[in-house]
C-alpha cells in the first residue's frame, strides 16, 4: 500500500524518467537553450525554460520512441506558440522517422495569454498526428491527471491512435466550471467531484471506448499500458470510420437522454457501481467485463 509515488503526482520530467528505459531520454531543445515565451514575459508572467512541454526521444522496453510530456502546473499546461511548435515538430519528426510518438498529456488547451497562436499550433499538430497515422506510426496519448486533456488538447488527444488513461485522468473539451456557468449549478455542480469524474474521468471514458486502456496510477502501469500499443496502429479507413460512426450514433441514442453517469456505467455492463467506483485500473476493467 505504500512505496511508489503516484504517476499523477510526478512532474513532467519525472514522468518521462519513470517510463523511459533508464538513462535513455535525450531532450530536444533542452532548458539551457532558454527558449521561453516572449508573450508571457511581456505580460509579467513567469516563463519556463521548456515552455511547459518536455520533448525528446527515448526507449521504452528497448523500442525507440518520441516522447513529450506537458507541464500541467505551468499555465495549466496550456499551448502557446513555442509549446505548440515543439509539439508539432515532434509529431512531424515521428512521421519522418517512422518512430512511435507518445504524448503525456496535461493541458487545459490553448494558452489564452498567447491568443490564437496556440490554437493554430494545435490544428497543425493534429495534421502532423494524422501524417503519422497514415504511415502507420503509432501515436499514443497518456491522460493521467485531473488537469487532463481539455479544450483543443482534448480534441487533439482523440486524434491519436490510442489513449491510455488512469482513473485520475480527465478527457473532455469544456471543463465543469465553464459548463456550470453556462447551464447552472443544478445541471452541473462543478464542486461535485464524484460527478465530475464520472462525467469526464478515465473510467467512464474506458467504458465508452474512448480510452483504449485503463491502468493503475503508477509509472510501471503506465509504461506497460504504452507498451501494449507501441507495435500497433489504428487505420483511418472507410471501414473504420463507418464502424465508428455507427458506434457513436448508437451511443448517442442509448445515452443521449441519460443525466446520471451511473446509467452509462450500468448500460456499459457495470453491475456493482459502488465496488467499481472504489476499484482502479485493471480491477475496474475486470469488474466491468464481468458484468457484460
Amino acid at each position: 500500500m505504500t512505496g511508489a509515488i503516484l504517476f499523477h503526482e510526478l512532474t513532467a520530467r519525472q514522468r518521462i524518467a519513470a517510463i523511459a528505459d533508464k538513462g535513455s531520454f535525450d531532450e530536444l531543445l533542452p532548458p539551457p537553450e532558454r527558449i521561453t515565451s516572449p508573450y508571457l514575459a511581456q505580460l509579467g508572467i513567469p516563463v519556463s525554460f521548456d515552455d511547459g512541454i518536455v520533448i525528446g526521444h527515448a526507449r521504452i522496453g528497448g523500442k525507440k520512441v518520441y516522447l513529450a510530456a506537458q507541464v500541467g502546473p505551468f499555465v495549466g499546461g496550456a499551448v502557446g506558440e513555442i509549446h505548440g511548435a515543439k509539439l508539432t515538430g515532434l509529431f512531424k519528426a515521428a512521421a519522418r522517422d517512422k518512430i512511435p510518438c507518445v504524448l503525456i498529456v496535461e493541458s487545459g488547451g490553448v494558452r489564452l495569454h498567447e491568443g490564437s497562436s496556440g490554437e493554430i499550433a494545435i490544428a497543425e499538430t493534429m495534421r502532423a498526428i494524422f501524417e503519422c497515422r497514415a504511415l502507420k506510426v503509432p501515436t499514443i496519448a497518456v491522460i493521467a491527471t485531473d488537469i487532463g486533456a481539455y479544450g483543443g488538447i482534448g480534441i487533439l488527444s482523440t486524434c491519436c491512435d490510442f489513449r491510455v488513461m488512469t482513473e485520475h485522468g480527465r478527457l473532455g473539451i469544456s471543463g465543469p466550471i465553464v459548463i456550470e456557468k453556462w447551464m447552472g449549478k443544478k445541471a452541473y455542480d462543478s464542486a461535485n467531484r464524484a460527478l465530475v469524474w464520472k462525467t469526464s474521468g478515465g473510467k467512464t471514458k474506458y467504458l465508452l471506448g474512448d480510452a483504449d486502456a485503463l491502468v493503475h496510477d503508477t509509472a510501471d502501469a503506465v509504461r506497460d499500458g504504452i507498451s501494449r500499443f507501441l507495435g500497433k496502429s489504428s487505420a483511418v479507413s472507410l471501414t473504420a470510420v463507418k464502424a465508428r460512426q455507427k458506434e457513436l450514433e448508437k451511443r448517442l441514442k442509448k445515452f443521449g437522454a441519460a443525466t446520471d453517469p451511473d446509467a452509462v456505467w450500468n448500460g456499459m455492463g457495470v453491475r456493482n457501481i459502488e465496488a467499481a467506483s472504489l476499484a482502479s485500473g485493471p480491477e475496474f476493467v475486470a469488474l466491468a467485463k464481468r458484468g457484460k
Partner: protein, 246 residues
C-alpha cells in the same frame, strides 16, 4: 456568456453569395449545413454550420455522415467547409458521452477524405472560434475567411475576464502581437487564414481559385512567419526536426 445571436446576412444569403443558384442543394437543419453545390461548373460537397450555433454530438455526427457519404458516392469531390459556430456545446451530457471523441471522429472522416483525394477548403463565414473551428474548419487544406467573420480564439474582453489581465493591457499588447487580436485579418497574419475575402470580392471566383490552388501541404507556419504574425513557430519546429535528425 451570451447566447449566440443570429448574424446578418442570413445563412441562405451567405450560401447564395458563395454558390449562386446551386446553393439550393444545401440543406440547413438545426443550423447544420449539408449538401452539394456547384463551384465554377463543378460539383462540390458542402458541410458547415450557421447562425453561430454550438456544435454538439449530433451535429458532429451529421457532418461526419455527410463526409462519409461524399467519400462513398462522390469520389474526389472537393469538400467546402463553412464555419459559423460560437463553439462546442457546453453541456455535461455532451461531455459525458465524449464530445471530444465525436469531434475526433469528424476529423478522422475529413482526414480519410483528404487521403482519398478530396480537396478540403474552409470558408469562415461567421463566428469561427475555439473548439468549433478546431473540430473541422481548421483541418482544411486551405482556410479562407470573409472579412466580416469573427475568427480567433476569443475577443480581448473575454480573454481579459479569464486571464484576469486588464483589457487595456491586452489591447496595447495586441498592437505588436496580432495573435492577441480577434478577427479574420490578424488571424491571417498568423498564417491561420490563407486570404481574407472582402465584401467587394467576387467570392464565387475566389472559391474557384481556392480550389485550383489547393494543396495538402500545411503552409500555415510558413505564412505566419512570412506575414510576421507568428515569428517563432516555424523556426522552432524546424529546430526540432533538425536536432532530432542528428
Amino acid at each position: 456568456m451570451k447566447k449566440p445571436t443570429p448574424k446578418k446576412p442570413s445563412a441562405r444569403a451567405v450560401l447564395a453569395r458563395l454558390f449562386g443558384a446551386s446553393a439550393t442543394g444545401i440543406a440547413i437543419e438545426k443550423s447544420v449545413l449539408t449538401g452539394y453545390a456547384m463551384v465554377d461548373g463543378a460539383k462540390v460537397c458542402v458541410i458547415g454550420t450557421c447562425d453561430g450555433t454550438y456544435i454538439d454530438n449530433e451535429a458532429a455526427l451529421r457532418l461526419a455522415a455527410h463526409v462519409i457519404q461524399c467519400i462513398e458516392r462522390q469520389p474526389k469531390t472537393p469538400i467546402i467547409m463553412l464555419v459559423d459556430s460560437a463553439g462546442q456545446e457546453p453541456n455535461r451530457v455532451a461531455e459525458m458521452l465524449g464530445l471530444a471523441s465525436y469531434f475526433g471522429h469528424l476529423l478522422s472522416c475529413l482526414e480519410l477524405a483528404r487521403r482519398k483525394g478530396h480537396k478540403l477548403i474552409t470558408v469562415a463565414t461567421g463566428q469561427a472560434v475555439g473548439g468549433a473551428f478546431l473540430c473541422y474548419g481548421m483541418f482544411a487544406d486551405r482556410i479562407y475567411a470573409l472579412d466580416s467573420a469573427s475568427v480567433g480564439l476569443m475577443p480581448i474582453a473575454a480573454m481579459s475576464a479569464v486571464t484576469k489581465i486588464p483589457a487595456p493591457v491586452l489591447e496595447k499588447l495586441s498592437k505588436t502581437m496580432p495573435s492577441l487580436e480577434f478577427g479574420a485579418a490578424p488571424f491571417a497574419l498568423l498564417g491561420g487564414v490563407e486570404e481574407v475575402w472582402s465584401a467587394e470580392d467576387d467570392v464565387q471566383a475566389k472559391l474557384a481559385q481556392a480550389l485550383a490552388n489547393s494543396s495538402t501541404e500545411d503552409n500555415r507556419a510558413e505564412l505566419g512567419k512570412k506575414r510576421g504574425g507568428r515569428k517563432l513557430a516555424l523556426d522552432i519546429r524546424q529546430k526540432v526536426l533538425a536536432e532530432s535528425a542528428r
